[in-house]
């Protein structure tokens, strides 16, 4: 990790530690923690990390932005930070300046399509859009016969049917019914909706990996405190082996997600190699969320199943994040098809190229 990456990530960590402590948030039923947290993040320029300075952002590198998302995952941050970062990145692809405030992106599923109408308005439905209810603006990928465009739309111009993801954060259906964007520009040559899905998928992978790091930490700590059968449960071999497996899942998620982030940060295009990295991260991190999260709960026993305990903040969000920007099943099919088309003898060269 480069020095500057450390500084950006450390800034984020410090804000989260001060204003997004899981215990404090978990006790705060009114959501009073949200506004100060968002304000601090905005003042540090973190939501617009990936927006160049001439588009109103802070012009951090992709790598720096990814390190912020790892930190956000470790704190299971429940404000639209990743979403605003992705929206800013998307808008910047078409040199559209980012407005202030919370944003999200649409579509958030590889199967949804938004249409750019002849009159410049947008039509279509995007499902599972994270934090749409909390967003002031939505960055949209829309297509017409000429190709893809990127548009900035006021959230108020769309119909938003509220939904909740597993972690209790908004995951909404956004309907564009002849919605007029503030700005629309053609997407750059070679841009595909898949690129947004891969960026979103890697963001979610980093968040899941971060959440697993925290689940490992609090599970280890709990096992060293909790006494049963007259000894700490960390002294039982069965518990030790479960925690070793959780460490393995956490490690796999961390390796897959940081490798994919590194691949995108250093790539000039979304080629097969970057595709392999990005979708492998989403697939493997999603699998780790299930296996690792399950162990974290098993170690905690009943207390971890209560709303008062902080474990669910990590475990349920990690599970919920699996669904955003294409599930692991969806990407596994796509990756399997790619491998099949390239042929058996090209599989190892693809894997070894990374």
């Amino acid at each position: 990790m480069a020095e500057s990456e450390n500084i950006v990530a450390e800034t984020a960590e410090k804000i989260f530690a001060d204003l997004a402590d899981a215990q404090t948030i978990n006790r705060d039923k009114d959501g009073a923690w949200k506004a100060p947290l968002w304000q601090a993040l905005s003042e540090s320029g973190l939501p617009l990390s990936w927006v160049p300075e001439d588009c109103g952002g802070s012009g951090a590198s992709l790598a720096e932005g990814f390190s912020v998302l790892s930190a956000a995952g470790r704190f299971a941050v429940a404000v639209p930070l990743a979403e605003t970062m992705l929206a800013g990145w998307l808008l910047a692809q078409a040199k559209i300046s980012s407005p202030d405030g919370e944003m999200t992106v649409a579509p958030a599923s590889p199967k949804d399509r938004i249409t750019l109408n002849a009159d410049g308005s947008l039509s279509g439905k995007a499902r599972g859009v994270p934090f749409a209810k909390a967003a002031k603006h939505i960055a949209v990928v829309a297509g017409d016969a000429k190709g893809l465009s990127i548009a900035l739309v006021e959230a108020a111009k769309c119909r938003i049917d509220a939904g909740l993801g597993l972690g209790g954060d908004h995951s909404d259906t956004v309907t564009f019914d002849k919605a007029q964007p503030i700005t629309t520009r053609p997407a750059p040559k070679g841009f595909e909706q898949t690129h947004l899905m891969l960026m979103g998928g890697v963001a979610r992978s980093l968040q899941i990996a971060g959440a697993l790091e925290s689940m490992l930490e609090i599970s280890v700590r709990y096992s060293n405190e909790r006494v049963a059968f007259e000894k700490k449960i960390s002294k039982f071999q069965a518990v030790q082996h479960n925690l070793a497996r959780l460490a393995g899942e956490s490690a796999a998620a961390l390796a897959a997600a940081t490798s994919a982030a590194d691949a995108i940060a250093n790539a000039t295009s979304f080629n097969d190699e970057v595709f392999l990295e990005a979708v492998s991260a989403k697939i493997r991190c999603s699998e780790a969320a299930e296996k690792g999260g399950g162990i974290a709960h098993q170690v905690h026993g009943a207390i971890g199943f209560t709303i008062e305990h902080i474990l669910h903040r990590y475990s349920l969000r990690a599970l919920g994040w699996r669904d955003d920007f294409g599930s692991e099943s969806y990407w596994a099919v796509e990756l399997g098809k790619l491998v099949a088309v390239r042929g058996a003898d090209e599989l190892w060269p693809l894997v070894a190229s990374r």
């Binding site: 790091e213 460490a247 796999a252 392999l276 088309v341």
Partner: protein, 386 residues
Amino acid sequence: MTAALRFDPIRLPPECEQLRKEVRAFLAEEIAAGTFDPHQPNREDTDAPEFSRRVGAKGWLGMTWPKKYGGHERSFLERYVVTEEMRVANAPTRRFFVADRQSGPVLLKYAPENIKMDILPRICRGEVCFAIGMSEPNSGSDLFAAKTRATKTDGGYLINGTKIWTSSAHIADYMIAIFRTSPPTKENRRHGLTQFLVKMKQPGIEVNPIQQITGQYEFNEVVFTDFFVPEDHVLGEVDGAWKQATSELAYERSGPERFLETYYVLTELVRAVGKNPDTRSAEGIGRLVAQLHTMRRMSVSVAGMLQAGKEPVVEASIVKDIGTVWEQALPHRVRDLAAFVEETATNRETLENQLSFAIKTAPKLTIQGGTTEVLRGIIARGLGLR
């Protein structure tokens, strides 16, 4: 953070890609010449001495060792590339692999100069085969229960006892073994074992082959009867072998051989399903490839840390735990996915033969070189649970 696991996204440097091309070209030539069949992992390949010498002549043995001992002073990452290409091609590496990975580095660290000058260049030339004498009939994972005695005598030691499950002992020129030189102490049950270099194929050593469930004979029982080992064959501290084991384990545990042993069935499945797989096959293959890619990235990351002089003992144990569990399950997952492969697939028979062998191989993968249970104990210790 109580558990600061590190898996930085290390990339192989550019010189590795040139090397990779050379290794692939070499292997293609060997395959064309009929040295081995990459589709047949189940051959008796323990003895491929000429191939071993040709690999040595290429400069791919002792790659990281000092030139003075015949080595090539290249990086661990370059060695990594050679290892993974050989493994994926199912090349017959058994004759040199143990010496190159494990025994050579032990000699480099602990052997006297005359022995290093004698043996290491021969390993680099692919001329000698090593075995590892650890397990005994009543001492497997519990290494420190070893009972085979080394009794002090004039100018050396007399060895009496039995090693077992010793791979390649029937063809090995040398063995690096641990023998008991003193009883364990009350304070330290690991005390009293010493590492020795043993020259094989001599009177006083009896090697009895043991057949495995795959049908192969890799294992052996090795019986020592008043076998003499000279003084200068002691490797490291007398009674202190337990101090010497840990640092090498990271190398042994995290390499590509820890997840690629059954890889061939995945390639063959991709061939069998063809260009237009159904959704079930595509998803199954996609997940396996994602898991494989992730493990390789973890393994390369550990190799990079080793190259940087770190000792990622916990990370290496995690790679072996996850990697061996994966390669063990792989043939069964491939079998699931192959259930609906067209009867007409041209490689159906190859795939079935490979699956049969891989499924029989699978049980050993989580046992050899440190069982899953031992690894998880090491990880748990690293997490601060012990």
